[in-house]
Amino acid sequence: MTATQSPPPTPAPTPQPESAAGAAKPHVAPGPPPGHVHPLIVSLPYSIHERADKATADPQLQFFVTRATYYKDQTRKKVFAEVYGERYDQMRELAGNIKQHTLDYLDHYLGEWIDNAEANGVKVHYARDSAEANSICLEIAKANNCKLCVKAKSMVTEETHLLPELEAMGCETVETDLGEFILQIDHDAPSHIVTPMIHKDRVASAKALTAALGVPYNDEPEVIARVARDHLRGKYRKADLGISGGNFLVANTGSVVICTNEGNGRFCTSAPRIHVAFVGIEKVIPGPEHLSVMLKMLARSSTGQPLTVYTHTMTGPKRAHEHDGPEEMHVILIDNGRTEILRKETREMLRCIRCGACLNACPVYRKIGGHAYGAVYSGPIGALITPLFKGLANYKDLPQASSLCGACYEACPVKINIPKYLIQLRTDMVGGKITGLPDRIFYRVWAASLKHSLTYRLGGWAQTTFFRLQAKLSGTLAKGEKYSARGWLKDAPGPVKGWTSQRDMPTPPAASFRNWWDKEHVRSVNPKAAEALKASGAGEAKPAARQH
């Protein structure tokens, strides 16, 4: 076995018809406006607060995000209930087991995939990291003298930040997924792994089209889509390089499977002479029967569709007897930190099939949107894998960006126990002293005080008194009897300032349930009356309740 060599020199590109749309304009790499901040390129260590604060104060953003996610979450539940009913959980179990098994023997299955893919004429490349992946792709483009690249949606190329590099070498590169295309011409970045543009509305989209293509402003979604369609068809006709991602690699056939709804994925992998797929090593599954299971779960989890509109299985480049298809098919297998996550303790996270269901289900994601996560992968799965890809110290806020409600775990078609791993990361942060010293001292003291009744009560008293005082000062504490009177703790000073600036918390009542029970209830029960009750066989609940 030998590693794949760089592509052989190829003949001059096929002459393209003059009539192809957009032929007249020479390509100038469109740079972002000065002072532009790329939403996914952030300075490290990343602090979530600025963006989260901005997002929580932006009702429009929250409306957009909630509209896009809540409906999909509901549809997912409804569809699975119809199709699998009680078997839904077993299907998640099966899909999870398939991925886990393949990951447990990844060397075996990936090897099998490579051998079969090569037998089908695919050229396989190995990229340790982003830089290597991009440079392999640039080499392929250079060797084939590629001038125009059409690109389908791929999260991995977002990871490697491929586009600017292709543009810089003089190969015009166009995103073809409608959302990604608009984001590209607007110098923006995706905020959801499946529906990239949910943070943007029709007005912003139409303005971007007007600015980039000089078309008259029209914000009807139909019109926006048609303008993009016409523009991008011109690109497909001339493109000599097509780039895609890959949703699955089928080990025993050597196939690459991509799932798309618009059809741009099929164009990008069929029209140009060269096709390059960027695929993470965790995408492999054993055989076609397993593909059935994964496909049955993927689209339903994503959008509630039974399958995406186009599920495109590619097994090698154009075959000799076939009429069309790429002459060369390259697959760049990408590690880029995945082998770190592959170790036993975190392996389960690599099951992810990027369906987006956990984002759609997440109450925190709905509040802060995708860009607040400061990385390519957002939402619950992003909070988990970003710190592992980029270093826990660099993304120490992300494992905290969860209420641990478990909605993500319930939604996940491959049953990744996201809350469990978020807690593990939090533990690692304390162990690795990434959590600041004041925090660590605070939690130490807290933990110690929970162990003794006296300190526990003292702590409880101090907390209640402080909270109620704050609430009284801010004028939110309602007057009333002492067990129910509540107020809101907000914008408190001192060490809880940061915490309370973003969250309102009800104050505890003056006396705890325990005190209430002891004082008001137990004492009031006349022992004689209780005896009489017991004798009559009623009121058994009361003595039982007392034991607590």
Partner: protein, 236 residues
């Protein structure tokens, strides 16, 4: 083994061996071994949603309609006439056709031409180029899947990848006998074919080209066909 000799000026490329060494380290495997347990079994009772005993034609029509395709059930004798009417409705001027596997479609091309519609010889031009300025693609299918209302379109000598993708309207002829119950059945069928003989492209098509990228509003026909007509021929 030989490290890759790239002409690049940058650091030497990662070899397959180096790449796999990292994977094995993470897995704590000292060498690659065949799995000690078999891959998870896909139990039919669990994963299958549709069985051969179900009314497949009805299920297929229902599901295909639900995802936004326009479905008609016809008899073979009506095939040519129905396609003619559809083409008139969309005022087609140029079409591409590949219905080789449907014997009942013999003479289809001639009948289309008689209506003054040009039948473009897509096979004469390499690539997808001849298909961009056409109004409809008329195809048979390699299979259909009742579970999801899916059509399977493969590439081969008689089928361009573009026929079901490039023209704005796709008219597909599905014979009753083409309809498989479940996705599982399609891949089982393919398992009988050695992968080196698989078509380079297998497209499972479940609906017209769609997007909801702009404010969640559903728009069809963003890249592929916005309209898909399915003619289910019920007597073959």
């Amino acid at each position: 083994m030989n490290p890759t000799a790239h002409t690049s000026t940058s650091a030497p490329r990662t070899t397959r061996e180096q790449f796999f060494a990292r994977i094995r380290t993470a897995l704590e495997h000292d060498r690659t071994i065949a799995p000690s347990e078999p891959a998870p079994v896909v139990s039919d009772a669990l994963a299958r949603t549709t069985r051969a005993t179900d009314d497949l034609t009805q299920r297929f029509c229902e599901k295909a309609t639900a995802v936004g395709m326009k479905v008609r059930q016809i008899v073979a004798g009506d095939l040519t006439r129905t396609i003619g009417t559809l083409l008139e409705e969309i005022k087609a001027k140029r079409v591409v056709v590949s219905v080789g596997t449907v014997p009942q479609a013999v003479g289809l091309k001639d009948s289309i031409r008689r209506k003054g519609i040009e039948v473009v010889d897509w096979a004469a031009t390499p690539g997808l180029e001849s298909q961009y300025d056409t109004d409809a693609g008329i195809t048979d299918v390699h299979a259909a899947i009742a579970e999801s209302g899916t059509m399977v379109c493969c590439s081969d000598a008689g089928h361009s990848r573009g026929l079901s993708l490039v023209p704005p309207v796709h008219i597909a002829v599905v014979r009753k006998a083409d309809i498989l119950p479940d996705l599982i059945d399609w891949w089982n069928k393919m398992k009988a074919v050695p992968p080196t003989q698989w078509p380079s492209s297998i497209a499972l098509i479940t609906g017209p080209s769609k997007t909801a990228d702009i404010e969640g509003v559903l728009v069809t026909g963003v890249h592929g066909p916005g309209t898909v007509h399915i003619l289910v021929v019920t007597d073959v």
